[in-house]
């Protein structure tokens, strides 16, 4: 009788355990990833900074939309006040200035600020 009780108890526990396991993982979906592979270009660090801007040429690039003109006028004025002797050069063009224009600006300046938008 004792053996029977142990057996019955074990069997009941096994059934409860099985039901418990089944109810926690009844359905499994394997779903595919919808994202496309992207190949980002190799990561580059920004250029080394310039500790002393005295006497340097700073370019201001804007994409010519009317909304930013006054802001950049203000930046130009403040740069001249805060960094006497610094030359400020203004440039404008498309969102992306392109290879040729970039080479021209790089040849004419030591550092730059770049803004596009409205």
């Amino acid at each position: 009788m004792k053996k029977f009780c142990i057996w019955a108890f074990a069997a009941t526990a096994a059934v409860i355990f099985t039901i418990g396991c089944r109810s926690s993982n009844d359905v499994t979906l394997e779903v595919l990833n919808p994202r496309g592979e992207i190949t980002l270009p190799p990561v580059s660090a920004p250029s080394a900074r310039i500790a002393d801007l005295a006497g340097k040429k700073i370019g201001l690039y804007w994409n010519e939309k009317p909304g930013g003109i006054h802001f950049w006028n203000g930046i130009e004025q403040l740069l001249k006040e805060k960094l006497p002797g610094t030359t400020v050069l203004r440039y404008s063009g498309a969102f992306d200035l392109g290879e040729e224009f970039a080479a021209k600006i790089a040849a004419e300046t030591d550092a730059f600020f770049y803004g596009v938008g409205d």
Binding site: S24, V27, L29, P42, A45, K65
Partner: protein, 386 residues
């Protein structure tokens, strides 16, 4: 950001300047060009936009950031900024388990929508079985690459497009239309980057012409730009999801459409050949009548212009044409900016839908598609100096 990157790569230290509501866009673009730790300084949008009208007005905004801008050129790069390590991404399948199918689908949706892999509506699970079924809609190889999708140039394979089509609830037989539209969007000569990311709330119009339109029951009649047709809706949704997931585009991060992109499932429609007095559009482009074609165009956000009819007034064909000319003439001032080669990427183009009765009346008056195109091209012209 690409211009900023060019100058940095030429050895010039720089600072990229934007309003704070565009900082995620700038960071995303910096990642795209390969300089994820670019120097970015933001100005407060709420001050910038209301004060930018005059030199004096905007000066406090400039004063607020000038020291940070100068520091951006002077302060040495931190070890993190100087690092060139890149993170890797796992694009393998995901496993979702739950006590019932309903809960598993709910869990899957939670993961995908939280990851910004959806459009906000409930998605269907792209199981391998469902994707294989979708791929039966095309004879093309699942591995075939048809192009890359802006802004992050994600690779668009047939299989990835099929995965997104499953999630959208499309039928396998829609695949030829979905793939043709994706070929148009990823065409190197088509500026999908601008349409998908500009602050202008543009969108895609996708026109299906030829026999397949009727075979797939793509609505070409009443309500053709609206809801109710599975083909129109799910072809558009499949494309939207493909662009989100392949191009990695997201509102406020790198899709900067200010009011969003009305019709999140694009504008998918068919040409109404049953009532059209003119040959199918694709025939005018050199295709045979029995060919089936997809044409993709960018369109502006939704707005309504009353050109006649309804409760407004009776109309004649000429009055409708006159109203159309007036509507097209007004925004042509933008041509001046385009001619200088700056912000505007090109002159405005138009898609005109003619209600069948009007089209038939114009035909009776001697017009055809070509003559109407010429008339509507010539009439809104005005001298450049104006």
């Amino acid at each position: 950001m690409s211009g900023y990157y060019r100058l940095e790569k030429l050895g010039k230290p720089g600072v990229y300047v934007c309003t704070d509501n565009f900082v995620h866009d700038a960071e995303s673009a910096a990642e795209d060009v390969g300089m994820p730790r670019s120097r970015i300084v933001t100005v407060q949008a709420e001050d910038y936009y209301r004060l930018r009208g005059t030199d004096a007005g905007i000066m406090p905004v400039a004063e607020a950031v000038i020291d940070e801008l100068i520091d951006g050129l002077k302060q040495p790069l931190t070890p993190e900024e100087a690092s060139t390590t890149a993170e890797k991404e796992d694009l393998g399948p995901l496993t979702v388990s739950a006590e019932s199918y309903r809960l598993a689908v709910e869990k899957f949706n939670g993961i995908y929508l939280d990851n910004q892999w959806g459009d906000g509506l409930t998605l269907l699970p792209p199981t391998n079985e469902a994707v294989q079924e979708m791929l039966k809609g095309t004879s093309r190889s699942p591995d075939e690459i048809i192009g890359t999708v802006a802004p992050k140039n994600g690779v668009a394979t047939i299989e990835k497009i099929a995965i997104n089509a499953v999630m959208a609830g499309a039928k396998p037989e829609y695949m030829p239309v979905i793939l043709a539209a994706m070929e148009c969007i990823t065409d190197p000569d088509y500026d999908d980057l601008h349409v998908m990311t500009s602050t202008g709330s543009f969108n895609f119009a996708i026109m299906v012409t030829g026999p397949i339109a009727e075979e797939l029951n793509i609505n070409a009649g009443m309500g053709f730009l609206g809801y109710g047709w599975r083909a129109n809706s799910t072809i558009g949704r499949a494309l939207r999801l493909a662009l989100i997931n392949l191009g990695r585009v997201w509102p406020g991060v790198n899709d900067m459409a200010l009011v969003g992109r009305p019709s999140q499932q694009f504008y998918v429609f068919a040409e109404n050949q049953k009532f059209s007095p003119w040959p199918p559009f694709h025939v005018t482009q050199g295709f045979k009548p029995e060919d089936s074609c997809v044409t993709v165009s960018s369109v502006m956000g939704a707005s309504s212009h009353l050109l006649g009819g309804g409760a407004v007034a009776t109309w004649t064909p000429q009055e409708i044409l006159d109203s159309s000319v007036r509507m097209m003439k007004e925004p042509r001032w933008g041509m001046a900016t385009w001619k200088r080669g700056s912000a505007n990427p090109g002159p405005m183009k138009y898609i005109l839908f003619f209600e069948p009765v009007l089209a038939m009346e114009l035909e009776r008056l001697g017009h055809n598609r070509a003559s109407l195109q010429k008339y509507l091209y010539d009439m809104p012209s005005f001298p450049m100096k104006s």
